[in-house]
Symmetry: C2
Subunit: 115 residues, 2 copies
DNA sequence: ATAACGTACAACCAAATGGTTGCACAAAGA
DNA sequence: TCTTTGTGCAACCATTTGGTTGTACGTTAT
């Protein structure tokens, strides 16, 4: 899935199909490359479930699948969560190690950098 | 950057270096592949600024760069925002269309769908 | 019916990728 | 000193990737 997102052309296709459903050839007309090249990019995005296609006459209408985008984002959010918990653990160590004796954690509102 | 995240080995390295800073050879010992292969993966992550290295004696200690992870997540969040605003726009159209004629647009014969 | 359009897919090609081994070199240790 | 360890880099190889052209086939228009 990250592989599917790894090309700017595909991210652009994703952006366009988020904004509005459109056919493969309409998409293809937006780029310098051949129709077949765009069609392959669409196929990669489809395999990653980042878009879905719908048949309408001879056209295939492409639209983004927001579920999958949310999933990618959630995965990265988990990495950030790992980071926060690591900081929290270090924080605990620092709170315990010195002989300050105070077992209760004083103000530990620290460097949260996520949004 | 998404390219750097596109391999499970590299995502795993990222995960490990989030949890704790460690040397390249320590990382390499965790995988079946050769040291050089892991070293190249680390180099890719470093080029994408997803990790940073620090020299300590002959070792190179690797740690994750949470800023960059947040940035990747923010980019995906923007796609979701696009989706939400698209839904909101459709919502507006549906709210306006039935009542209040308001024929401001002179030649709106081709009633754009979506945007 | 015939032409034009939209799509899919195969074959092909150059470049990038993910892996290997081997070598060079600095730092630690015997 | 000599050896071992940790690192980086180059050369090489197989596979994947991103692009091309060509072909086939169903749908729409003339």
């Amino acid at each position: 899935m990250f592989h599917a997102l790894a090309t700017s052309t595909r991210r652009d296709i994703l952006r366009r199909t988020i904004e509005r459903e459109q056919s493969v050839s309409t998409l293809a007309s937006e780029y310098e490359m051949s129709f077949a090249a765009v069609q392959k990019h669409v196929a990669v995005l489809e395999a990653a479930n980042l878009i879905v296609k719908r048949a309408e006459g001879r056209e295939r209408l492409v639209r983004a699948n927001p579920e999958m985008i949310a999933r990618a984002r959630a995965l990265l959010a988990r990495y950030e969560e790992l980071w926060r918990s690591r900081i929290a653990r270090l924080d605990d160590l620092l709170a315990e190690a010195p002989s300050t004796g105070a077992s209760d954690r004083t103000d530990n509102t620290n460097t949260e950098q996520g949004d």
